[in-house]
C-alpha cells in the first residue's frame, strides 16, 4: 500500500461518537481536514451507509461515499479513526473505522489487504490496540507487499 494514502494526521486514536452517523461525520471530517475530499463527500458517506452497512467484521467499519460522491474526492486517501468507547453500528460493535476516499479501483487491493489483516486475530488486535499512530500506519502499510 502506498504510504501517502494514510497520512500521519489522518490517524485518530481517541475519538468519541454518540452514534453511527456521528462516527461517520467524524471520519468524513478527518478526510476533509487533510484536504482529501470536499465536505459534500461526508453526505455521500452517510448516503452509502443508508444503502448498505459498511461494517466488515472484527469490530471494523469502512465508511466511504457513493459512486455519485466521487466527484467530491480531491485525492485518494484513508483515515483511521478509533472510538475506544465503541459505536453501535446497526447491532455490531465498532471500535475502529477505516474511512476511504478512492476514485479508481486502487482501493480493491487496499480493501483486500485490510481484510487479510482483520482475518488475522493478532494483527486485528494490534490495529484496535496500537497506542501510536505510526504503529497503525505501519500495520496497514506493511500489509501489502511493496
Amino acid at each position: 500500500m502506498d504510504d501517502r494514502l494514510l497520512a500521519p494526521e489522518a490517524v485518530r486514536l481517541d475519538e468519541h461518537a454518540a452514534n453511527r452517523d456521528d462516527a461517520i461525520r467524524r471520519c468524513g471530517g478527518v478526510l476533509v481536514e487533510i484536504g482529501a475530499v470536499d465536505p459534500a463527500y461526508v453526505t455521500a458517506m452517510l448516503d452509502r451507509e443508508q444503502s448498505i452497512s459498511t461494517y466488515v467484521g472484527a469490530g471494523v467499519a469502512i465508511p466511504h461515499g457513493t459512486t455519485a460522491g466521487k466527484a467530491a474526492i480531491r485525492r485518494d486517501a484513508l483515515a483511521v479513526v478509533r472510538f475506544p468507547a465503541g459505536v453501535d453500528w446497526g447491532g455490531n460493535h465498532v471500535t475502529t473505522c477505516v474511512a476511504i476516499a478512492a476514485q479508481g479501483d486502487g482501493h480493491i487491493e487496499l480493501l483486500a489487504d485490510l481484510a487479510e489483516l482483520l482475518l488475522d486475530p493478532e494483527r486485528a488486535r494490534a490495529l484496535h490496540e496500537a497506542a501510536d499512530p505510526d504503529d497503525v500506519r505501519r500495520l496497514l502499510l506493511s500489509s501489502a507487499p511493496n
Partner: protein, 96 residues
Amino acid sequence: MPTRSVTVGATSGLHARPAALFVAAAAAQSVPVTIRTSDKPPVPARSLLSVLALGAKHGAEVTLEADGPTADAALDALATLLARDLDSDDESPDHG
C-alpha cells in the same frame, strides 16, 4: 461437486458494496458456498472479510462451488448476481 465460473460484473470489482450484497445473498442460501479466484484458495462466500480478501476486480474470473440437493439453484442465483453490474444499482435502495 457443482461449480460455476463467473466473470465479476461490478464495475469497481468485488469491493465493499457489491461484496456485501454478494455475501448477504450467499448467507441466504440453504447450502454453504465457497468462492475462489484463479490464484487464491476457496473461502466461505458468506464471510465478508474472506470475500474482500480475494480482491477480485472487474472482469476477474471467480469460481463458486457448493454441495447438497440445492447446490445448483444456489450457484445459479449467486452466479447471476456476480455477473451483474452491482455498482450500476448504486443509488437504488431496492437493491441495498
